[in-house]
Symmetry: C2
Subunit: 258 residues, 2 copies
């Protein structure tokens, strides 16, 4: 029997420890192909490269596993993987990550990791984004890997409903036994309160650097934030139909006069 | 009485004809401040700039209107506008566009125009993205401007439900009388089928250029694509809660065994 084909990508770049961990789990479940950015692409959201050329180069980084690095964004990587690298065989699963840092709550909107997974879902591939709530380059991925494998195996077994992908976040812990299990959750309605640091360059010209503070006023116990704070792996079913269907009838009541 | 404060931005850059048209309509309804990218940012999705500094420079481009150009993405522009330029007074309305080219259907995901509006909504500002279905730099915005004004006036009057913004697309026509009116619609479930053009650079090294074909298998007559093809201005209520709430109970039925 043909082993399932698993496409692996990320947004921290192909040399990040997070993708190495994801490749190692994926290899236990199927045949793996890696197409990932050649440099860090955090915060790229669903950006695509339309006004300049893209490079795609085969490299040897993960032993026997076929791997390509790409000069574009995470979404570019998925498009190149589907249209060029895997033209002959559609992947059975796309996994993106493991991101160094949380993509829970509103972070899903800014995240290159999640946008790669969204693009996979648009292409009709069951897709999962994985993130660990630790921004450090030296983050400890080990405690969460058994859950990563369980979730990947479940999606390979069951598939995913059309138009749905998974946003998986793993709490930062030292031991696997510190994790209480998996919680299916909704995206907490939190946001970043930006705070620009204002500085002067050596020439005396002003510049700004984006920083921010995560503000969560969503007190629900069914959110991804709640799950993570209670040491659960959060799994949010995520969609790319952005229509607010509930407000269509309300807007139909407007008269639109000038 | 204080006139409403309207923040105007876009993704085609501050010199694009589309933003000039939007500024002219907004000026009829309120006090306008412009914060827009200093260069084209199409396809940037919800990208933010976190690893390099941002420039923000006041410029004189629209007569008496306070205007800033920013070196970042559309989302950076909104964040800088809210945190720096308009620190003292929160805008009553954010409008983004008018984009040169459609942002209907799945384009909402890739669009810098719409991401600026999404960021506005996250900040709690009633927000609208406007796009004209004509990619040309010389696109004729005139026929749609009365509808742009009606929709802006309606949002200033009624506000918008929390977490909801509007994605407005205008059909390409020669005359205002060719437009049949406004249709509240849902996002058509269509997608781009990518097609990379493969070439060699002068040094003999391969590169790829992203092109694609829009494929719409969604035959609904309640979609934005249907509305536009029938010469209506489409208005899609859009949300940034990406949770697929309907599938939470389904996922809870999974056992997640490895």
């Amino acid at each position: 029997m043909l082993r399932p084909l698993i496409l692996v990508t990320n947004d921290d770049g192909i040399t990040a420890p997070g993708i190495r961990n994801l490749v190692s789990v994926a290899s236990q479940l199927g045949e793996v192909v890696v197409v990932a950015p050649d440099s860090p692409q955090s915060g790229m959201g669903h950006a695509i490269t339309i006004n300049k050329p893209l490079r795609l180069d085969e490299i040897s980084l993960f032993d026997e596993i076929i791997s390509y690095q790409c000069s574009g964004t995470p979404v570019d990587c998925v498009k190149l993987a589907v249209d060029i690298v895997l033209k002959e065989r559609k992947p059975d699963l796309l996994v993106s990550g493991i991101n160094h840092g949380s993509n829970s709550s509103i972070n899903v909107i800014y995240s290159g990791t999640m946008s790669a997974a969204v693009e996979g879902a648009i292409e009709g591939i069951p897709s999962i984004g994985f993130s660990l709530c630790d921004f450090s380059h030296k983050a400890n991925f080990q405690p969460g890997l058994a859950f990563v494998k369980q979730i990947m195996a479940s999606v390979l077994k069951n598939g995913l409903p059309k138009g749905t992908l998974l946003n998986v976040n793993i709490p930062k812990t030292d031991l696997e036994s510190d994790i209480n299990g998996i919680k299916i959750a909704r995206q907490a309605l939190a946001r970043w309160k930006e705070n620009f640091v204002e500085r002067e360059d050596p020439g005396g010209r002003k510049y700004f650097w984006l920083t921010g503070k995560f503000v969560n006023d969503d007190k629900g116990t069914d959110t991804d934030e709640w799950a993570l704070q209670n040491a659960y792996v959060s799994v949010v079913p995520t969609q790319f139909d952005l229509t607010d269907h509930h407000n269509i009838s309300y807007l139909n009541s407007w008269s639109f006069e000038s």
